[in-house]
Assembly symmetry: C2
Homo-oligomer: 213 residues x 2
DNA sequence: TAAACATTGTTAAAATATTCACAGCAGTAT
DNA sequence: ATACTGCTGTGAATATTTTAACAATGTTTA
């Protein structure tokens, strides 16, 4: 079944789904690959190939059924049971992420935050309760958490990752500028803001364009 | 000269430089490709190829001179004159980014923030002064700003991007979940937190690993 | 009903990116 | 000196990702 479900394809599917939800809200029933591709900033061929990966089939001359395709992608990407996630590190960035995700997706929610600063413990920030870092492992095990976000200082990141892995976490969104050592069955998505900004600065100087946005 | 300066290579060079600076601080003089590669989480061959792109040459049996390689990468990535950058949107995420970059790199600094909320204007947050959104265009032109960060709500993002492009900005780090339409000589780095988290959740479920971290 | 049309799904080709693998070299040991 | 070692730089091979191109197809029009 998964002929071609690369990381890039998965990311784009998530994007397509968001665009489809917007179309659905705007009461659009059908959309052509080139229309959706334009909104997403990709080529129509690439989009069709991505959609191949989930086995959904559109109709020639009508295109894709907006609601059905959105459902197909959701079915592919999401756990119908929902996937609770936690965040570790309630600093500036951590709070911004909490605000960003606070009560957002029904299937993918931040359910708890952790920090070693006792002054933050038991505060509720953007609807997410903050717990003591000491209770991290217990919380993860008890609630079968598989997804975590790391926004602690770089010096603590590997230590936190070790605890997460030990407790059963299988996917980590990591904002700390360090390569985390984890077993190969744990997925890491590194978001390195300093590197991203340096890239922008470099290409701004070169006046080069990306091959495709 | 630039045989192979892809976006990926540029990003990794930035990473190598940071690691080299750490080594330099720790008084390490030389490093082998496989050592640096391990720290970076890439293969030694890939690292050597990346370094080829900037024309630096190490020594067999001694490896790379830590300080010289760091300087070579800096020379390649950075404008020696410095590159001031601005941020538009002083919400939760914007403030976190300001905190993250506030007075960080000497060559790549956030020098001003902009927001349409008059209550924020003239406040100084993490050492960065906040200006009225009305003065954005004038500021960019007067200070020859080429790099900008967008952290405004999605509804405002394209509008802000249009102003930036009109004023001469050539690189944008975009946190708004929308594909910005800009001329092809303007570089966009999209950071889509929702997509990133969905990817993590997906691969956490699949228990799949990235091909290489 | 049949012809015309624009779209999808997909195969094949091209472009990119990574890895392999090794010649050649600078140190080190004998 | 000479042989040995383990590294770098890099051509060639491989793997991955994207693009091109088109047969098949459902819809509309005449």
């Amino acid at each position: 079944m998964p002929l071609n479900t690369s990381e890039k394809t998965v990311g784009r599917l998530s994007l397509y789904r968001r665009l489809l939800q917007e179309l659905s809200t705007a009461s659009v029933s059908y959309v052509y690959s080139h229309q959706l591709a334009t909104k997403a900033g990709v080529t129509a061929a690439k989009l069709r190939r991505d959609i191949m990966a989930i086995g959904y089939t559109g109709s020639p001359s009508k295109g894709y059924d907006v609601v059905k395709l959105a459902e197909s992608i959701a079915h592919f990407l999401e756990d119908p049971e929902g996937q609770p996630a936690v965040i570790i590190g309630v600093g500036n960035l951590g709070r911004a992420i909490m605000s960003y995700f606070g009560g957002r997706r029904p299937k993918l929610q931040l359910v708890a935050a952790f920090d070693s600063d006792e002054k933050k413990v038991n505060r509720v920030i953007h609807n997410i309760r903050c717990f003591s870092a000491d209770s991290l492992e217990e919380y993860i095990v008890q609630n079968s958490i598989k997804v975590a976000v790391i926004t602690v200082p770089v010096t603590q990141a590997q230590n936190v990752a070790d605890i997460l892995v030990r407790s059963g976490v299988k996917g980590i969104m990591n904002f700390a500028p360090i390569h985390l050592r984890v077993p190969s069955d744990v997925f890491i998505e590194d978001i390195d803001l300093a590197i991203s900004l340096e890239k922008v600065a470099y290409f701004a100087r070169q006046n080069k364009q990306k091959k495709e946005a």
